[in-house]
C-alpha cells in the first residue's frame, strides 16, 4: 500500500491526502471491525463488537474502566489477535499478526503513557524504529516534521529534546510520529487525561483538522462532556459489548450516561434491618489534589451512619480513588475535615488512622493491599504486626501463622500453601484474604474501592456477604463501585460522584436509574444535597 522508500529515510507525509481519493469519496469505512470477540481466561473482554469509522470523522469509544475499549484498540493495532471477527481497512479484509502490520496499514496509536525516549530530540524520536539508510539525514527528517507541523497545526521544535517539552507538546510529538509513519487512522487512548482545558481545545482543533484532511480519528474516553463537544459518532461499550452506536446530534449526555452504566438489571436487594442513627464517619467540605496536582476533590460532604453501607457511584476518575485515599491518610486533604466518632482524623498519618479503626480495601489489591512476593502469613501481618499480641521486638511467628491459617479457613481462601507468595493466588482468593485481614481488627469503618472488580460470580457473592455481615455488626461501609446493580443490591444510600463532589446522596429505595445517570453526567441531583 505504501511504497517502501528507496532512500529509506523520508516517508512522505502526504498519505492523509491519498486517502481522500478513494475511501473518503466513496463512503467505504476507512476502518471497520466486524463481530470482534476476544476472550481471556475467565472473561470475555470483547463480545461481538462492531465499529466503523469513516475518513473525515472523529469517533469516540466510550465506556467505563473494564468495558473493553483498550482490548478492542489493542486488536486494531495488532497487539492482540481476535478470537472471532474481522478487520477491514478501506473495505479490504486484513489480518494483523503484529503491530508492524497495523502500522503498515496506516493505523497509529497514541498511548496514554507516551512511548518517547526522553534524552532524544523530537526528530530522533520520530524516526525511532523506522527503516533508514545507513547515514541519517536529520535535516531532511526535521524538514518533514516541520511540514507535518504546519499542515496540521502541530507545532513542535524538531531539535528540542523530549524532556524539555511539556506534556501537551509530548503528545503532539506522538501524533507527528504516527503521521510521519503514514498513519491515516489515528487512535488516541484517553488523550485528555493529562492535559489542561486549553490544551484539550487545541488538541481537538488539531484532530478536527486531521479529520478534514481525510483521516479517521478514534479516541477512547470515559468523559461524557468531551464526547459531546468533540465527537461526530459515538460507540458505547459496556461489559465488552457494543451497546449503541450513535451520531452526536441524535443523543444527549444523559442518554450516554445511561447507556454506559446500563439500564436493565435486577433491583434485588439483600434484606436487612435499618441502619443506625449514630454518625460514625463525617466528611466535611473535603478538598484534595490528584497525582498530577489538579483538583480531584472539590468539596465532598457525607455522614456515614453506624451499620450503613453507602455506595459511591460515578464514572471512574471523578475523585473516587482520591476520596478513599484522603480518608485513609494516604493523600493529604487541602481543605475540609474528616471525623471518626467525633474525633478529627484529617491528615493523620496512615498508622493512626488504621489504629483508629478504618480499614481499607484499595483499588490496587496486589501491590498496595497485598505484597505480591510475600506469603500469606507476611501479608496477614501487614495490619497487625505492631500489636502486642504478635510479639514485642521479635514477631511471634507461630501466632501469626495461626492467625493466617484461621483467616484462610474462615474465609474459604483457596491456596496451595500458607508459605506460597500471594501473587500465585487467583483474584477472588486474593480479595477474600485481603478482606479477611481488613475485617479481622474489628474496624469502625471499611473503605472498599471497587471491591468486586474482576471477580467471578461466586467470589462477588462472598465479598458482598462479608460486607453485609460487617454492616450487621454496626460497621460503616463506604463502597466505591462502577456497577449500579451492585450498589442497588448492597448499599443503603447511593452517593453519585462527579467532578470531585457528590451530585446527590439518596436512599437506594428512592433512587431512579435515570436520575443517577443524570447525576453521573454532572447534573445536580433532585434527591437532596449531601446530608
Amino acid at each position: 500500500m505504501f511504497f517502501m522508500v528507496a532512500e529509506g529515510l523520508v516517508r512522505p507525509a502526504v498519505s492523509c491526502i491519498t486517502c481522500q481519493g478513494d475511501a473518503y469519496m466513496t463512503q467505504i469505512p476507512l476502518v471497520e471491525m466486524r463481530g470482534i470477540t476476544k476472550r481471556f481466561p475467565g472473561v470475555v473482554a470483547n463480545d461481538n463488537v462492531n465499529i466503523e469509522a469513516y475518513a473525515g470523522e472523529i469517533y469516540a469509544l466510550l465506556g467505563e474502566n473494564g468495558a473493553g475499549k483498550s482490548t478492542l484498540m489493542n486488536i486494531l493495532t495488532g497487539l492482540y489477535r481476535p478470537d472471532e471477527g474481522e478487520i477491514y481497512i478501506r473495505g479490504e479484509k486484513r489480518v494483523f499478526s503484529s503491530p508492524k502490520d497495523a502500522i503498515d496499514a496506516g493505523i497509529g496509536m497514541v498511548h496514554q503513557h507516551f512511548k518517547l525516549v526522553y534524552p532524544f530530540t523530537v526528530a530522533e524520536n520520530v524516526i525511532l524504529g523506522q527503516p533508514t539508510s545507513t547515514f541519517l539525514d536529520m535535516e531532511k527528517v526535521e524538514q518533514a516534521i516541520e511540514e507535518i507541523s504546519q499542515k496540521y497545526g502541530l507545532w513542535v521544535e524538531p531539535k528540542a529534546k523530549i524532556w524539555q517539552l511539556g506534556v501537551g507538546e509530548q503528545q503532539r510529538v506522538e501524533i507527528i510520529k504516527m503521521l510521519y509513519r503514514g498513519a491515516n487512522i489515528l487512535i488516541l487512548d484517553e488523550p485528555t487525561a493529562v492535559l489542561t482545558p486549553q490544551e484539550v481545545r487545541d488538541l481537538f482543533a488539531t484532530l478536527r483538522q486531521m479529520a478534514d484532511q481525510g483521516c479517521a480519528v478514534i479516541f477512547i474516553t470515559h468523559k461524557l462532556h468531551e464526547v459531546m463537544a468533540f465527537a461526530d459518532k459515538i460507540t458505547v461499550l459496556r461489559g465488552g459489548k457494543s451497546v449503541a452506536s450513535l451520531k452526536k446530534e441524535d443523543t444527549t449526555q444523559e442518554e450516554l450516561a445511561r447507556l454506559m452504566v446500563g439500564r436493565e438489571f435486577s433491583r434485588k436487594r439483600i434484606p436487612r434491618k435499618p441502619a443506625g442513627d449514630e454518625t460514625i464517619l463525617k466528611i466535611e467540605n473535603l478538598h484534595a489534589l490528584n497525582d498530577k496536582g489538579r483538583k480531584a476533590l472539590d468539596g465532598v460532604n457525607l455522614e456515614l451512619k453506624k451499620g450503613e453501607i453507602v455506595g459511591i457511584a460515578g464514572v471512574a476518575g471523578n475523585g473516587q480513588r482520591e476520596l478513599a485515599e484522603v480518608i485513609t491518610g494516604l493523600r493529604p486533604a487541602t481543605e475540609g475535615k474528616v471525623w471518626l466518632d467525633g474525633r478529627d482524623i484529617t491528615n493523620r498519618p496512615p498508622r493512626q488512622i488504621i489504629d483508629a479503626g478504618i480499614s481499607h480495601v484499595p483499588e490496587d489489591r496486589l501491590g498496595m493491599g497485598l505484597i505480591p512476593n510475600l506469603n500469606s502469613i507476611d501479608n496477614v501481618a501487614l495490619k497487625c504486626y505492631r500489636s502486642q499480641e504478635v510479639g514485642k521486638l521479635l514477631l511471634d511467628t507461630a501466632c501469626l501463622k495461626e492467625r493466617a491459617a484461621k483467616m484462610v479457613a474462615d474465609f474459604n481462601v483457596k491456596q496451595a500453601s500458607l508459605y506460597m507468595p500471594v501473587k500465585m493466588m487467583s483474584g477472588g482468593n486474593l480479595q477474600k484474604l485481603l478482606l479477611a485481614r481488613e475485617i479481622s481488627n474489628n474496624p469502625r469503618v471499611i473503605v472498599a474501592v471497587y471491591p468486586v472488580r474482576g471477580l467471578d460470580i461466586g467470589a462477588t457473592e462472598a465479598v458482598h456477604e462479608l460486607l453485609m455481615q460487617e454492616r450487621e455488626k454496626g460497621t460503616g461501609v463506604l463502597m466505591v463501585s462502577e456497577d449500579l446493580e451492585e450498589i442497588f443490591k448492597v448499599a443503603d444510600r447511593v452517593a453519585v460522584m462527579y467532578g470531585g463532589k457528590f451530585m446527590g446522596v439518596l436512599p437506594v429505595e428512592e433512587a431512579e436509574v435515570e436520575q443517577i445517570g443524570l447525576m453521573m453526567a454532572g447534573s445536580p441531583g433532585v434527591g437532596g444535597v449531601a446530608s
Binding site: I354, M368, A381, Y385, L395
Partner: protein, 358 residues
C-alpha cells in the same frame, strides 16, 4: 514466520534449589571465562586455579589468611545486604569503611591512655557512628528530596579515601615513619587480640555475631518485617502505616555502621595504624558478596570466605607471574554471570513456536 525459536516464558515461583544452583553455576562459568584469558596469556588454567586454591585453603597459614580477608568482606557484605533488602543502593561501603577506620584511629591515637576495656569499645562505637553518619550523608537527601543514593554514596567513597590520605600524608603522619603514608602504631590497648594461637583477630567473632543478629532482625523482628515490606512494595508499606522516610535513615545508618566496623577491625586487627590504601576495594567486593549470598546473612558469611580465598589465591599466583588483578577480573565475571543467571530465576527458556497474537 513459523520458525522454531528460542524464547523466554515467565515462571511462577522459582524452586528454592534454583537460586543456589544459579549462584554455583555463575562461579563455574566465571572460572571458565577466566580460563579463556589464562590460555590466551599462555598459562594453564588448571595449574593456575589449583595454585590459587592451594594457596588459599591448602595450608593452615593460607586458611588463616583467608579468614582474615573474609572479615571485612563479611562485615561490609552484611551491611550491604540490609540496605539492598530495602532496595537502597548503598554502594558506599568502601567510604564508610574508611570513615570507620578514621574515627577509630582518632580514638586510638589521641587517647592512648585509655585501658583496653574502654579503648576497644570506644573505637568500635566511634566507627559505628562514623560509618553510619557517612551513609546518612546520602540517606538524608534520598529520604527528603529523592536524590539518587547510588550516585551520592559512590562519590562519597572518594571523599572518604582522600580524607584518610590527607591525614596519613599530612597531619597524622608518623614522624618516625620514614615518610611513609601511615600514622604512628596504635598502643597495645587499641589492638584487637588474636583468637587462641591463630593469626585471626576477634573481628571474625564480631562478624559472625553480626550475621546472626542481622538474621534475627530481618526475619523475625518487627523492624525487619517493615524492611522487607518496604523493599517489596513502597505502596503497600505506606498503606500498612509504615514510616518509609525513617526506615531509609535507619537502614542506611545500620548499613554504614557495618562497613564502619569493617574499617575498625582492619586498623585494630591487622595494620594497627591508619594507612594509605587500607582497603583494596573490600567495600566494592562486598556488593558482589551480598548479591551472591542472595542477601541472606548466612550465605553472605560463606561467600565472604570464598572471596577471601580468592584474594589470598590471587597473591599466591603472583609467584606464577600473573598479576593479582586476575582476581578482580574473576570477581567481575562472577557478578556478571550471576546477574545473567537471575533471568533464569524469573523466566524459563523454551524452544518452540511462540503463540501468535498474544
Amino acid at each position: 514466520m513459523n520458525n522454531k525459536i528460542l524464547f523466554l516464558e515467565k515462571r511462577g515461583a522459582a524452586p528454592a534449589y534454583l537460586s543456589f544452583l544459579i549462584a554455583l553455576l555463575s562461579v563455574v562459568f566465571a572460572l571458565l571465562f577466566g580460563a579463556v584469558f589464562l590460555i590466551l596469556t599462555g598459562h594453564n588454567p588448571v595449574d593456575v586455579y589449583s595454585l590459587m586454591f592451594g594457596g588459599a585453603f591448602g595450608s593452615a597459614y593460607g586458611l588463616s589468611e583467608t579468614a582474615t580477608k573474609a572479615i571485612p568482606l563479611m562485615l561490609a557484605g552484611l551491611g550491604g545486604s540490609i540496605a539492598f533488602k530495602m532496595l537502597l543502593w548503598n554502594i558506599g561501603a568502601e567510604g564508610q569503611l574508611y570513615m570507620g577506620a578514621f574515627a577509630a584511629s582518632y580514638v586510638a591515637l589521641f587517647h592512648p591512655e585509655l585501658p583496653i576495656y574502654i579503648m576497644l569499645p570506644a573505637m568500635f562505637l566511634a566507627a559505628v557512628v562514623a560509618g553510619g553518619v557517612w551513609a546518612l550523608v546520602s540517606a538524608v537527601p534520598r529520604a527528603y528530596l529523592g536524590v539518587n543514593e547510588t550516585i551520592t554514596s559512590l562519590l562519597l567513597n572518594y571523599v572518604a579515601i582522600l580524607w584518610v590520605d590527607y591525614l596519613v600524608y599530612g597531619p597524622w603522619k608518623d614522624p618516625k615513619g620514614f615518610n611513609f603514608p601511615l600514622t604512628a602504631p596504635f598502643v597495645e590497648a587499641a589492638q584487637l587480640p588474636y583468637i587462641g594461637s591463630t593469626r585471626i583477630h576477634y573481628g571474625l567473632v564480631i562478624g559472625l555475631v553480626g550475621a546472626v543478629l542481622l538474621y534475627f532482625v530481618l526475619n523475625r523482628s518487627r523492624w525487619g518485617y517493615e524492611i522487607r515490606v518496604i523493599g517489596e512494595s513502597q505502596k503497600a508499606a505506606q498503606y500498612g502505616g509504615m514510616n518509609i522516610r525513617r526506615n531509609i535513615l535507619l537502614v542506611m545508618f545500620l548499613s554504614g555502621a557495618f562497613a564502619g566496623i569493617a574499617g575498625v577491625s582492619e586498623v585494630a586487627g591487622i595494620t594497627h595504624r591508619l594507612q594509605h590504601g587500607l582497603s583494596p576495594g573490600y567495600g566494592y567486593t562486598a556488593i558482589i558478596i551480598a548479591w551472591l549470598g542472595k542477601l541472606h546473612p548466612a550465605a553472605v558469611v560463606i561467600v565472604s570466605f570464598l572471596f577471601g580465598g580468592l584474594l589470598v589465591g590471587g597473591y599466591t599466583i603472583q609467584t606464577a607471574g600473573l598479576p593479582a588483578a586476575t582476581v578482580s577480573m574473576l570477581q567481575g565475571a562472577v557478578l556478571f554471570f550471576l546477574l545473567g543467571g537471575e533471568l533464569l530465576n524469573r523466566y524459563r527458556i523454551r524452544l518452540g513456536f511462540r503463540k501468535g497474537g498474544n
